[in-house]
Amino acid sequence: MHWWLPPKASTFTGPIDGLFLAILIITGIAFVLVEVGLIWFVVKYRARPGRKAFYTHGNTRAEVIWTTIPAVTMVALGLISNHYWVQIKGRNSIPPNAYPIGVHAKQFEWQVTYPGADGKLGTADDFTVRNQLHVPVGRPILVQLSSEDVIHSFYVPQFRVRQDVVPGMDIKAWFQATVPGTYELGCSQLCGLGHYRMRAQVFVQTQEDYDAWMKQAAQEASQ
């Protein structure tokens, strides 16, 4: 059984998991303060005969304090989050040397187009494989997303990468896998009755393994 975020297998896991942990600590402190306070008040101030409540309408100083602390914390959190957001999703976040792969989503499958030997999409040596995403490890991958019909969402939990695939839009996403192995790509946007089985295998391979696989797959595709 798994009680934490999925295993880490991309460069995004560092900032995202770190931010998650930071928020967990901040909200954890607030959570404990409020719940312990509530329980303490419930026990301590329960009605007893002859007692009368303390008559007060508030305390400006206390209210200023408990308005300012959350405000400062939230703005700081926003700035830190934005720093990483720009690195992950910002307009210029995609590394220029990223290796392009086309992913076309349709009810209910993923069609993955590889650039072939020339490393470029949109050329004659491209080839397409259903429901199998092979990527070389340690290299930025540019995923060019398109949809045939409805909105789908490209999600690999171990990479912490998610991007909706919207019909009529060409959307680019990127990631860099760090650990060779087999993972799953899932659709995370309700796309119809087969949504639950719109799933592909992800293979993170060393560059040599990837090159060997591509050679063979290109051959099979051309037959």
Partner: protein, 588 residues
């Protein structure tokens, strides 16, 4: 209803010679309309719950025949085994019924109608006939939505958020009449909300009793007022969007179909521009009523009344500029994501202020744990969890991982069930005597509260964990994914807890109906509260007061040193009080 009839005759504020139909069916009395909303939306709450139970069966025991599922037709569950196309109908209709036909009408339809005139001191709403139509358009919308469950190709299937183009084209969703009936129904519900909101705003601005200044209004009325403004501005956007969707569905327009030049994201912008104010429509009235109940239960004035009002206004204002936080990974420009993230995080501030002020109210109080107070304290405890988990998804990079997972499902249920529904159980118990002249059973109320509190947490807390592990929402069978298979024991635990949670709600329903006839007769002011409604007999008579009371102070004067008892009603004149200046002008 008979006890209502009998006791309403007993009271005689106005000579009441209306026929049965005018009195109880096409009634223009705000209290009867509130009670009509109550009965109908409690029924839809039950429907929404039954749909959720079927989802939980499939998730806990995928592919096994559901007990009693044999009565469902072959197209939904052959042999009682739920089909994928039926499962996504369950997902869609559970959300739709709970949001549009249970929580929203329970909070606004019931309590705005019932409480506003009683709490501000007036005979009825400003536009009683519009008010009647607000109920009947809601009722028609409800019937249309209910009927869509029985049409040949089944109910709507695109999730309660109806993302286009899945919702817009029949060949994508596999449903035609069901999708169209969904749109028609929502148009009726939108109309109902617009009519209601118009009325609540007008009534609060114009019909307050003499001496009921803005800052003497109870926080329940403040929150219902702000909610009505949100409703009046947000629902037309939804109605417009749904009319466009309906055109796409039936007359071949292509607003949301990119294949023919439409824009898929347009729907999301329109929907969430309505949808996020809607989230606050679903929580602000609960916050207001909880404030009334906590002050009463603590026998203390509300802590920081003015900042509570400003927090409501701030939440409502910020609610208009955060809709994009539903769309961080939708393909929207990521720079917009940055600004929506900041506005979303800032909304945590007024929410925190409210939470600390509720705690400040309880601090050094003399806490009476009647059933409404138990629910109100649970509201604070649970709303905090729902509010804090919201910070995770507000942070855009973290949202990449948890968006559209069970983490979101946990978050929204902590706010809507742990927040709104707990507040509603408290509020229904609290104002029940003023509606029906009888009290609900206290002992069974406590049993219902504790069991609900326990099972509710067993259902929704583990969803945070499955969500973190990456379990996507709206999956018919998560075991299709290897990495989600080890989570099956958690899903079984959640499902069993959900069945127990549902069974516990039957205690509430039985208590509700049983108390209508057999409950203890309610005194005029059973909770020793300060609001104007408690100056009336229980149940409150038609037309409320013959002459509306004058108001001498704010609504939360508990444990005031001026009097020996620990409450001081707004309508009670002390020798030192002066008559309000507007006394003659405002009565009509």
């Amino acid at each position: 209803m008979t006890s209502v009839a009998a006791t309403a005759h007993g009271a005689h504020a106005h000579h009441d010679d209306r026929s049965f139909v005018r009195k109880y069916i096409f009634s223009t009395d705000h209290k009867i309309i509130g009670i009509q909303f109550l009965f109908v939306s409690l029924f839809f709450l039950l429907v929404g719950g039954l749909l959720a139970m079927q989802m939980r069966w499939q998730l806990g025991f995928p592919g096994k025949p559901m007990p009693g599922g044999g009565i469902l037709p072959e197209t939904m569950a052959p042999g009682g085994v739920i089909l994928p196309e039926y499962y996504i109908q369950l997902v869609t209709m559970h959300g739709t019924f709970m949001i549009f036909f249970a929580i929203m009408p329970l909070l606004v339809g019931v309590f705005a109608n019932f409480l506003i005139p009683l709490k501000i001191g007036t005979h009825d709403m400003a536009f009683p006939r519009i008010n009647m139509w607000s109920f009947w358009t809601f009722f028609i919308g409800g019937l249309v939505m209910l009927s869509s469950l029985f049409v040949p190709d089944g109910a709507a299937r695109a999730g309660w958020t109806m993302y286009a183009p899945l919702s817009a084209r029949h060949d994508y969703s596999g449903a035609s009449i069901g999708q169209e009936l969904w749109s028609v129904s929502i148009i009726f519900v939108g109309l109902s909300s617009i009519l209601g909101s118009l009325n609540y705003i007008t009534t609060i601005i114009n019909n307050r009793a003499p001496g009921m200044t803005w800052f003497r209004m109870p926080l329940s009325v403040w929150s219902l007022f702000i909610t009505a403004i949100l409703g009046l501005l947000a629902l037309p956007v939804l109605s417009g969007a749904v009319i466009m969707l309906l055109f796409d569905q039936i007359i071949g327009t292509h607003f949301f179909d990119p294949g023919a030049g439409g824009q898929a994201l347009l729907w999301q912008h329109l929907f969430w521009f309505f949808g996020h104010p809607e989230v606050y429509i679903l929580i602000l009235p609960a916050m207001g009523m909880v404030s009334d109940i906590i002050s009463n239960g603590s026998r203390k004035p509300i802590f920081g009344y003015h900042s509570m009002v400003f927090a409501i206004v701030a939440i409502a204002f910020l609610g208009w500029i955060v809709w994009g936080h539903h769309m961080f990974v939708s393909g929207m420009n990521p720079t917009l994501g940055s600004s929506f993230m900041v506005s979303t995080l800032v909304i945590a501030v007024p929410s925190a202020v409210k939470t600390f002020n509720w705690m400040g109210t309880m601090w050094r109080g003399n806490l009476r744990f009647h059933v409404p107070m138990l629910h109100a304290v649970a509201f604070v405890a649970m709303f905090v969890i729902g509010g804090l988990s919201g910070i995770f998804m507000a942070a855009t990079p973290v949202d990449m991982q948890i968006h559209d997972t069970y983490f979101i499902v946990a978050h929204l249920h902590y706010v809507l069930f742990g927040g709104s529904l707990f507040a509603l159980f408290g509020a229904i118990t609290y104002w029940y005597p003023k509606m029906f002249g009888r009290l609900m059973n206290e002992g069974w109320g406590k049993v219902h509260f504790w069991l609900t509190f326990i099972f509710y947490n067993c259902v929704f807390f583990p969803m945070h964990i499955t969500g973190m592990a990456g379990e996507m929402r709206r999956l018919y069978d998560p075991n299709q994914y290897t990495f989600l298979q080890p989570l099956q024991p958690i899903r079984v635990f959640i499902s069993i807890s959900a069945f127990l949670l549902f069974a516990t709600q039957l205690i509430f329903f039985v208590n509700f109906w049983w108390s209508l006839w057999k409950g203890k007769k309610a005194p005029q002011n059973p909770w020793e509260d300060n609001g104007l409604e408690w100056s009336l007999p229980s149940p409150a008579p038609h037309g409320n007061w013959e002459r509306v009371p004058n108001v001498y102070r704010g609504p939360y004067e508990f444990s005031s040193p001026q009097v020996a008892e620990d409450y001081l009603p707004q309508y009670k004149k002390l020798p030192t009080d002066r008559e309000p200046a507007a006394a003659s002008a405002a009565t009509h």
